[in-house]
């Protein structure tokens, strides 16, 4: 029992109201109520904490200050002498930067064309947010569903701000991606006949969430990683890219890699470059804890931006409604949305539900923040934070004994490690910084505004509008990873090896920083979060 006597006392109210809540749906918000709670409580709408950057191709755009600090930074190569005229250390058709789901799927598709590939990644191959995605992946592959219905859910969830061609690509490729994964031997939850077992997620109008227990992302990642190894694709770990190289005509022509361990720089020349570096939760916008991977530090955003790639929705961040809040070792860790998908309700200090359990993530998070901040009905924690309950024990009441054990083994284990039994005790949760909705602007072939530069995965923006639904991110990385791999490889066939590799764009970016008087000596990308002596 990790809960203090005070928390145990409060927990009794949850237990007291539980039986009366099972099977009773709290009313969903009206569109007006949704708009109101977002505008008053969603961190994206809270002005302090944002600023407009003063340099680069999208000068003047708004983003969280912590992200702006990275955009307004100097290159790691500022004081480094590099000889770009000699033979490069690597010379390939397609350079893929990042070894998560987007990078791995890009590598597999590019490999099918016979292209010569290098995949360079910052930590281990597979160390990525992909690995941590628990709840599922969306695809309209049931008779009562269709990509069109998926499209409507996607746009409604994204506040209609999604880029239509990207949204179309996402939903139309979705069944193809699931079919591809099935054939690669991904262990989806299925019934005896082979039919995928699917469920709801926040904001879905059909049960189209496919899962592999609650290790969905891990299962997909380890399958893709295994396949990349099987195909003998060249990869290099602990070697993040720190700058995109451009050729004499200003087209992408490779990248400078940095061996994290020997601290040497290496030159990779490539006819096409795919940025698949993921998100930025480790920048801790507004001081929020994060559910993100150790390496989620916006590397690709700043590299691509310095090279001239345009951005979209850099001021739109997703706070996942159910981050762990207590015990303190679980702070910020993701409590999968599948927990709510299976019926667990969010409750305030009185054991009362205050929001429908499957509103979209932005609305659900805002409602939780309102309950704690405005209404003062959060549960006070010994750590000084406040939280709300997520009533996990009702899952077994709804679906039968053993459901949590079967469907949420990762969650069960994670809480058990810190002495909370989620079958018997409700969880304590609060929104956690989860996802970067925006990123570098791409088209439906994953091309950026810089020739021969592609982006796939969380580093890209526009697919989800300004709010992403559960299960569309695992989908996104695979849809656009595959598309980037295919189109970058095809493009490379028409190109000679790039000539006149240079970092002139970095020098001119530095001049802009100096002229604007910003940057303050900061270096970016930061590559690793700094938690020493926190």
């Amino acid at each position: 029992m990790a809960y203090t006597p005070q928390l145990q006392e409060l927990m009794k109210k949850v237990e007291a109201s539980r039986a009366s809540r099972v099977g009773v749906d709290y009313p969903r918000m009206t569109p007006e109520e949704r708009r109101e709670v977002l505008q008053n409580f969603h961190p994206d709408y809270i002005e302090d904490g944002f600023r407009n950057i003063e340099v680069g191709v999208d000068k003047g755009i708004r983003m969280p200050s912590e992200m702006a600090d990275v955009f307004e930074s100097y290159s790691r190569l500022r004081e480094v002498e590099l000889d770009l005229t000699t033979d490069p250390d690597y010379d390939v058709d397609v350079l893929i930067i990042g070894g998560g789901g987007a990078g791995a799927s890009a590598a597999l598709k590019a490999h099918e064309t016979g292209a010569k590939i290098l995949l360079a990644t910052k930590l281990r191959f597979g160390d990525a947010n992909t690995m941590m995605a628990q709840g599922g992946i969306q695809a309209a592959d049931k008779e009562n569903d269709s990509p069109t219905i998926h499209y409507l859910d996607l746009l409604g969830g994204g506040r209609l701000e999604n880029v239509p061609e990207l949204a179309r690509a996402l939903v139309m490729d979705a069944p193809l991606v699931i079919k591809w994964l099935e054939k690669l031997g991904t262990m989806f939850d299925k019934n005896e006949e082979g039919t995928m077992i699917t469920s709801h997620g926040g904001g879905t109008s059909r049960k189209r969430m496919h899962a592999a227990r609650d290790y969905t992302g891990a299962e997909i990642m380890r399958t893709l990683r295994d396949e990349v190894h099987n195909r003998g694709i060249n990869l290099i770990e602990f070697s993040p890219a720190v700058e995109i190289l451009l050729d004499k005509d200003g087209r992408a022509g490779g990248a400078v890699l940095y061996n994290l361990e020997t601290e040497h720089y290496l030159i990779a020349r490539a006819k096409t470059v795919i940025i698949a570096t993921g998100g930025s939760g480790r920048l801790h916008y507004r001081g929020f804890p994060t559910s993100n991977h150790h390496g989620a530090t916006a590397d690709g955003l700043i590299m691509g931006y310095r090279a001239g790639a345009k951005t979209l929705y850099t001021d739109s961040i997703q706070y996942h409604p159910t981050g762990g809040a207590f015990p303190p070792q679980l702070l910020g860790l993701l409590v999968t949305e599948k927990t709510r998908g299976l019926g667990a309700q969010p409750l305030n200090i009185n054991g009362d539900q205050f929001v429908y359990h499957l509103e979209t993530r932005d609305v659900e998070s805002s409602a939780i923040i309102r309950e704690c901040e405005e209404r003062g009905l959060g549960v006070p924690l010994p750590t000084g934070l406040t939280a709300v309950w997520l009533d996990s024990p009702m899952i077994d009441m709804i679906h039968g004994e053993g459901t949590i054990e079967r469907q949420l083994p990762a969650m069960l284990r994670q809480f058990q490690r810190f002495d909370v039994d989620i079958r018997k005790e409700p969880m304590l949760i609060y929104p956690t910084l989860h996802y970067q909705n925006g990123g570098l602007l791409i088209d439906d072939q994953a091309r950026t505004s810089v020739e021969n530069l592609y982006v796939a995965g969380e580093a890209a923006g526009g697919i989800h509008g300004t709010n992403r639904l559960m299960g569309n991110s695992l989908l996104d990385i695979l849809v656009f990873g595959r598309r980037a791999g295919t189109s970058a490889a095809a493009r490379s066939k028409d190109l000679p090896a790039p000539e006149g590799l240079n970092l002139d764009h970095v020098s001119s970016y530095h001049r802009e920083l100096e002229e604007a008087g910003v940057g303050d000596g900061r270096i970016g990308p930061v590559l690793l979060p700094h938690y020493t002596h926190r």
Binding site: Y151, D153, L160, G185, Y215, N230, R534
Partner: protein
């Protein structure tokens, strides 16, 4: 953790690779290493118990038993002597999934060492996920890929099992091959999924999707607000 941690939280001594550090007792091993001043590159990954990057071995002073845990998922204890095993050399069989079958003969070609298991159970004892590793090795030996897939599913591929095996089995890679064989050949393919994928490739759904892609926001909002929701 604020600067005043030492005033309010009980501090304990841990030994990172033999060197003593004074850290708050509430921290995980990973947080404690950072508190001590380590900038982690190896031995850190998802920080949430999903990636297996932070396998750690430790002893508590005065206790002979060697214990294991994931650094991000294990609280520090007073007198803990620890070292991380961020990498362990291990073989992975290279195969084309389309060229093999889910039977013992094919599997034995990929991972012959699986059949050398001595039954010492060291792998199971060391698993931070509490997986019955030796049992799934037994299932793999007899070609029961369904059961092997089921009980090995929560494996994080941290490699601790491999580090302890006296006959050099690479359990996690063998299990992964077993799961892929099961999922590819023994679990039935989803029939409707296949037909939906074909319909999309044939362009049969283009007209209806393009109608929405070309719709204005007002129309989309109306459709969205009035869509029917499956119960």
């Amino acid at each position: 953790m604020s600067d005043t941690a030492e005033d309010t939280i009980k501090m304990i001594d841990i030994f990172i690779m033999g060197k003593k550090y004074h850290v708050p007792e509430t921290l995980t091993i990973m947080d404690a290493m950072e508190y001590a001043g380590y900038q982690l590159k190896r031995g850190v990954g998802c920080r949430a118990g999903f990636c297996g990057a932070c396998a750690t071995v430790y002893r508590i002073a005065g206790d002979f038993e060697l214990k294991v845990g994931l650094a991000c998922q294990t609280k520090v204890e007073d007198g803990m002597y620890l070292a991380q095993i961020p990498f362990f050399p291990a073989r992975k069989a290279i195969y084309d999934l389309e060229d093999i079958k889910p039977d013992t003969a094919h599997f034995a070609q990929l991972y012959p060492e699986v059949f050398r298991c001595l039954g010492c159970n060291s792998c199971t004892k060391v698993c931070p996920q509490d997986i019955d590793v030796m049992q799934y090795i037994a299932y793999l030996q007899r070609g029961d890929f369904a059961r092997a897939a089921d009980i090995s599913f929560d494996c994080l591929m941290c490699g601790l099992c491999v580090s302890r095996c006296p006959v050099n089995i690479v359990h996690y890679n063998a299990a992964l091959a077993g799961r892929r064989l099961y999922s590819r050949y023994l679990a039935k393919p989803d029939a409707f999924l296949a037909s939906r994928a074909e319909a999309i490739k044939a362009g049969e759904l283009d007209t209806e999707i393009d109608e929405l892609v070309n719709a204005d926001k007002e129309k989309l909002q109306e459709l969205y607000d009035n869509r029917d929701i499956e119960q």
